[in-house]
Amino acid sequence: MSTTLPEAKAVAAAEDDVPILYMQRTRDYYLALGYGNPYRWAHFVEVPFTPLQTSLDRARVALITTAAPFRPEAGDQGPGAPYNAAAKFYKVYSDSTESAPDLRISHVGYDRKHTTAKDINTYFPLERMREAVAAGRIGSLTPRFHGAPTNRSHRETEADLAELLRRCREDGAVAAVLVPS
């Protein structure tokens, strides 16, 4: 990461160098394809907040991902594969944080033009988190990480989130890192 020194000249950003309006672009895209009834993203009045109750070097931390376990029978899930609905999953899953799971993101709408999903560490930071534990930055990881289904149903997603919370608590987590892909 670069730091701007006080004496350095500030560089102006391009006019269109702003956060991408994914919701607007996605709505426009599917309307242009001829689909009505645009998707409504989750939107809440209140957002919960709990300060970290212990120092991080003593905390047990969970990792939650939207990546899917590779399944040979589910078609092309390789880097740059077209959107693959057959690779989606609809139930919360868990696997060991001691393992090196083969997780893919062919089932979600990542940017296929500007990235390839060749490096699992860009969407599933388990290796980096293990290093943070080894360095004493994080107390420990929970024995399991968890997979969150990318279900378009808000009702199903709320049920999945309750299950994820249950599993995190069962594992003694005091915090969770959520990484959507």
Binding site: M1, T3, A14, D16, D17, V18, P19, I20, M23, Q24, R25, T26, D28, Y29, A32, L33, G34, Y35, W41, A42, H43, F44, E46, V47, P48, F49, T50, L52, L56, P82, A85, A86, K88, F89, Y90, I105, G109, Y110, D111, K113, H114, T115, A117, K118, N121, T122, Y123, F124, P125, R128, M129, A132, I138, N151, A175, V177, L178, V179, P180, S181
Partner: protein
């Protein structure tokens, strides 16, 4: 940790470390362990120090000097009518597969 700032903030989360990278790189740049370690470290600092819900911190890392990659995601201006019709057909197939899989799960 995420890349879609508008979607995450629309939902609302306790803490958000935003990387202005193409979707799929929430945890840092590909094959760049330093970028990934810095991204995680910043997320951990947000976890430790955010004062209230909906705290967003933007990573200082840039995907590239040139920001023109941002124009391409679902950019309708680059699609011909034929391409749009083709995409519609392809997505109808995808929806059918997803529906069958969801109902079978």
């Amino acid at each position: 940790m995420g890349c879609a700032k508008d979607i995450v903030e629309h939902c609302g989360v306790p803490r958000f470390l935003w990387s202005d990278f193409p979707l799929g790189n929430s945890a840092g740049k590909p094959f760049d362990a330093e970028s990934q370690a810095q991204t995680l470290e910043l997320a951990l600092r947000v976890l430790e120090s955010a004062p209230a819900a909906r705290t967003t911190v933007q990573s200082g890392q840039r995907w590239s000097e040139d920001a023109s990659w941002k124009r391409d995601y679902n950019d309708l201006t680059k699609l011909t009518r034929e391409t749009i019709a083709k995409r519609r057909k392809e997505f109808d197939v995808v929806k059918t597969i997803a529906k069958a899989k969801r109902e079978g799960s």
